[in-house]
Amino acid sequence: MTDVTLSLASVAKSFGIVRVLEAIDLEIARGERHALIGPNGAGKSTLFNLISGAFAPTSGTITLNGSTIGGLVPHKINRAGLGRSFQITHVFDKLTVRENIMLSVMGRFGKRWSLLRRGPVWTDIGRETDAILEGANLTARAHKRAGDLAYSEQRAVEICMTVGTGADLILLDEPTAGMSREETEHVITFIRRMTEGRTLVMVEHDMDVVFNLADRVSVLVNGRILMTGTPAEIRADARVREAYLGEGAH
Amino acid sequence: METVVVALLNGVIYGLLLFMISSGLTLIFGMMGILNFAHASFYMLGAYLAFTAVTIFGFWGGILIGTLGVALIGFVCERYLLRHVRSFGHVQELLLTFGLFFAFEELVKLFYGPYAVAYSVPESLRFAAFTIGDASYPFFRVLIGATAIVMFAAIFCLLRFTRIGLVVRAAVLNPDMVRALGYNVSAIFSAMFAVGAGLAGLAGAMGGAYYTTSPNMATELGVIVFVVVVVGGLGSVGGALIASLLIGILVNAVVYLDITFGQILATIGLVSQKTASDLLAVPLSSTAGVLPFLLMLLVLMFRPQGIAGDDRA
């Protein structure tokens, strides 16, 4: 197999006696765009939280670029190369857009403890921050408080932050939730551009987004992976249709 | 031997008193997410109200007034003050309860002066319950312990066996759902707050008679109650019981040990005899005040969620 970024082997998760996930085997290649879909209650959020380090698996291993990350604290996972966004937008409302993104970029350049804003590294940080702002069409908004932005713009800031950390595995949790058709289209293009060259895993309900963006799709039903395949294969599969009977796209 | 039993008994009863106060605090936190800094103030107010009421209504009337009066004060605080500030955030609520704690202490000083008042157990109740060896054990002390147990049992039964208890337990778990079912959850919470306050007031009314009643009561006991709640686990009444008893017994038992801190360290070999007798000649018995905090630090290091708390960071 080609270079594997993220690998889940026999991962299971229970909360007390409630079995949420079972026998999860998944391998995601470098540079792949992978979507996680499934009916409500299938365990997508739990799987997402497992991968991103919110809690540890009950059994099985999760490895990122060969090293185990299952059970590490969030900041160590991020430094291992994983960045995630949140379903409910988690931008820093009272900070400006530029400050939001700078926070994510600073870490990448190792400037976590600095007190001064002088020196060549800071020029680089500034340049990188501006580049991200430019790529997201947010330069005009750079000095507005993030809390004052429109919802889709806040989402964009969030995704910029996730990408800004320099992580090569990006996890997006329902990035287009709550958006209009038009906004969704913008975000799809935006995500494609921002995650160029990186590996992407996203939880999504919107089938258009999935088919537009994903290279491969995993369908999660009742805590197990029903199948993994290309969007076309998924669409054609009878079991998937049955699992989604009555659900449809959000 | 008798001293050990007496110490143990003292510890258990003191622990039960602590429990009466801390159960309300931990319950309110578990339910509403409010840490009520002024909870220890309710204890103090209960003592003072009882002290005043006793002159008019007799001792038992005084206890009753103390309890109900504080319950009323608690209700008013929650319904009109805390609820308003809640919209500003949890931490503003914390600040308000802190401000109330400060204000209540000054209010008490306003009416009663800055020194302790002569609130004491009436003559009729000053007899021995039983004797252990040579020592006679005061009845009132036993009464305090008994009251705590009865209160705990009553609340437990109320929560577990009545319909309103079921609603309350559900409201703790999922207030929105209970609201959607048509119950006035806000009123339920106010009522529970009042009950918690009333419990603290009862503890104060009885404890103040036996121990001292002074404006310092709230501060002195308040911190211990915090420790109990941290050690027991926020939100867990069972944990509060265990922690209260643990701390009560620890604090009371240590008073009977006749060695100094320095002597212990010297025996282990950490310091010389000289240092032990000069610098560290602090008798272990006097560290009774410090022990609860050491316990808290230990718990924080090795089991931060407390004895029975959940994993809410």
Binding site: L95 | V91, Q92, F111, G113, V227, T287, F293
Partner: protein, 423 residues
């Protein structure tokens, strides 16, 4: 507008510099107390206003700074190792060291748990200080003397005044700069969304511990200045009142404005200084002011000023208008009413009054207040008190100066202004 701000600062600085020449010793002493309280409050607010961490036991680090400095002063007296002007650094170092340990414990948990741990830690220190007489001096405390250093003599109040002033300015510059630094940005990010910051690769716990330590260091520095000024240290410094006052100062002054804690500290200290002579119950008034601030003006005085400046700049209001006069009148009315109630009640409940009643065979003498006599039996007394308080409060609420409490609110929605933390 910014230039006006700078002019004000310059004027204040100028005034402070010439104070010893225009004012008497008492005013210098008061100013020293104010500056010490202001530094303490600024240190506290680093943790509270910037990091969102409520510490209700900060007196511990203040007191530790004082005691450490007293010991250093003793050492200097025996054979100087440190120039006296650098003594505050001893307090800062002691505060920092203890703050690091305490902060490490306290940051194990967040929110209300954190607050409880800080209280318990402060009580622990206080309990140890009370018992450990050989180190903390017991009830009489410890004493030392200020040693002169080089060309500087420190035997006069004025010399201490200038020393305190210099350090106050240095601390303010340091904190202001810290706030604007990248580190400050991370701290504010943690306050808003800790989880997010963690997922950006920052070790939030380490950052919080460090902020705690720095905050404790500044508090320790304030304590050191106290040691220098008073030449003594006493275990009562560790008691709850000290921790309560710094919270009071910061909240009343405004936690979200840099100079808020300074304003609050100045007002409270002056109020305590003058008020303690006028009334036995000045702390009660302070408590009422605190509760009122939290309920009705959570942004504090500093926040109110900033808001007013913003409104004037946006053209929404004139700098001073009729409603301000009305508000002021209503405030005074309410305060007068409160004073009447508190003083009369407090006096008739006091020991000395009861003794006077007993010796005067049941006659209840009037309470002398503000040049007037208030008869406790006269309904006029109580009407004046209650009426003034209620009327004044009602006008203030109606004017919207204070935020409507929810049970009085009608159709209009009040604008919640606050350190609104979404938990």
């Amino acid at each position: 507008m910014k230039s006006i701000f700078y002019i004000l600062i310059a004027a204040l600085a100028g005034f402070l510099i010439v104070l010893p020449y225009v004012g008497d010793l008492a005013s210098q002493n008061l100013a020293i107390k104010v500056m010490i309280a202001a530094i303490f409050a600024l240190g506290f607010n680093l943790l509270w206003g910037q990091a969102g961490l409520p510490s209700f036991g900060h007196a511990a680090y203040y007191g530790i700074g004082t005691f450490a400095t007293i010991y250093a002063m003793e050492a200097i007296d025996k054979g100087g190792f440190l120039p006296t002007p650098l003594l505050p650094l001893v307090g800062a170092a002691a505060g920092f060291a203890f703050g690091l340990i305490a902060g490490w414990f306290a940051t194990i948990r967040t929110g209300v748990y954190f607050a409880m741990i800080t209280v318990a830690l402060a009580e622990l220190v206080s309990a140890i200080a009370v018992k450990w007489e050989s180190v903390f001096g017991g009830e009489s405390g410890l004493r030392s003397i200020r040693s002169d250093w080089g060309p500087f003599a420190f035997q006069t109040t004025t010399s201490v005044y200038y020393l305190t002033l210099v350090w106050a300015i240095l601390v303010m510059l340091f904190l202001y700069w810290l706030q604007g630094s990248p580190f400050g940005l991370i701290v504010r990010g943690i306050r808003e969304r800790e989880l997010r910051v963690k997922f950006l690769g920052y070790d939030a716990r380490k950052v919080k511990t460090l902020v705690f330590a720095v905050s404790a260091a500044v508090s320790g520095l304030a304590g050191a200045l106290l040691a220098i000024s008073d030449e003594s240290a006493n275990m009562v410094l560790f008691q709850g009142a000290g921790s309560a006052f710094v919270v009071l100062n910061t909240v009343i002054g405004g936690a979200n404005v840099f100079f808020g804690p300074v304003i609050g500290a100045a007002l409270t200290t002056c109020f305590g200084y003058f008020g303690a002579n006028l009334s036995h119950f000045w702390m009660f008034y302070l408590g009422v002011a605190f509760v009122a601030t939290v309920l009705f003006a959570p942004e504090g005085i500093g926040g109110a000023i900033v808001e007013r400046v913003r409104q004037v700049r946006a053209g929404e209001r004139a700098p001073l208008d009729l409603s301000d006069v009305v508000n002021l009148a209503a405030l005074i009315l309410a305060i007068v009413g409160l004073i009447i109630l508190v003083e009369v009640t407090g006096t008739i409940c006091s020991e000395s009054y009861r003794a006077a009643v007993a010796s005067g065979q049941g006659v209840w003498p009037a309470v002398r207040l503000m040049g007037l006599s208030f008869n406790p039996f006269s309904p006029l007394t109580w009407i004046a008190g209650v009426g003034g308080l209620l009327l004044g409060t009602w006008v203030l609420l109606k004017q919207g100066l204070a935020k409507w409490p929810s049970f009085l609110r009608r159709a209009e929605l009040a604008h919640p202004v606050g350190t609104g933390e979404t938990k």
